[in-house]
Symmetry: C2
Subunit: 191 residues, 2 copies
């Protein structure tokens, strides 16, 4: 594999997904984000909703991931394996942008990757999630705190990397300060 | 104060100082790095060598910084205060680039700053410190480990920020992967 892949990890609400889409459009490359879910569902046999909820909402993720593996791999382990296969396959197919799903870690020794992290202040993200996803029962701050915690735990568990450290990535950008469009332009310029 | 200041924090050996100099040259701005030492020395009354060694080598920093303040401020506290005054004054004078010395933290609510962090892999930095600073008795890996630990402790103590976290900065770049010159160009482009 010698294709150039751009991977984007992002804090919930930072607009990292939009950064990926805009950068991919500028580069004329496919961007895999929600598309990944269907592929992973087909590969694993799990329902798309179930796949969508891991990494993102999965209230049961931690309990299940940390439970005993004495009786074989957990659902999450099977899902991780399917995710790994799908991402490796996409990287084989050609240059692309992949958002989330630990693609940076999965491709770390397998493909020529540029790895990016998009983050923003809690205030910026709180305002943005209400705009993008609407109001929920929980306050935006509670939703952020919970998602941040889950994402950090998920990453830590499967990749052994400390979520949010700059040295995990080639470039990290604050989308709240720099702007989502400027982050995308910078990223496309690095390709 | 409404000047645009670029602050650069950097891992030892990452070339962050060179990034700052190159970016400042492209922007036609002054870059304060070693120049800071003389100013802080004059402001504090401490010898320039002593000032140089804090944040960087100071073997006694932790012991002294963590020692009792019951008898008044420690040398390090006085140095920190002088450093704060010098950096605030520079920010008043006009746009510039400031490397190191917690300028991002000192100016956080005082000036319009772009805050950058330059990091690189231990392998890249180990090779570079031998090239730039020459061989020492310790291996380059030992020197890096020690400096990294001291810098993290210093930051943690004076700024309460966790060293190396992406969300401390507007942009973080891996100079080993992106290249020192490209980091400088990106930074100048963001001004």
């Amino acid at each position: 594999m010698s294709h150039r892949i751009t991977t984007i990890s992002r804090e919930f609400g930072s607009g990292g997904r939009t950064v990926g889409k805009l950068a991919a459009r500028q580069l004329g490359l496919p961007c895999y984000d929600r598309e990944l879910i269907g592929r992973i569902a087909r590969e694993s046999g799990f329902a798309a909703d179930y796949v969508r909820n891991t990494e993102e909402d999965a209230p049961g993720f931690l309990a299940s991931a940390l439970s005993s593996r004495a009786f074989g791999p957990t659902n999450e382990d099977q899902l991780w394996e399917a995710q790994r296969r799908v991402i490796l396959e996409l990287a084989e197919q050609g240059p692309c942008v992949i958002v989330g799903r630990c693609a940076d870690y999965i491709l770390r020794d397998k493909a020529d990757c540029l790895t990016a992290f998009i983050h923003a202040s809690p205030a910026f993200r709180a305002e943005r999630i209400v705009k993008v996803y609407g109001q929920r029962e929980q306050t935006p701050e509670q939703r952020l705190r919970e998602k941040d915690k889950r994402r950090a735990a998920y990453h830590r568990f499967y990749t052994d990397m400390k979520w949010g450290r700059a040295d995990n990535y080639h470039i990290s950008m604050d989308s709240g300060v720099l702007g989502i469009e400027r982050c995308a332009r910078l990223l496309a310029g690095l390709y």
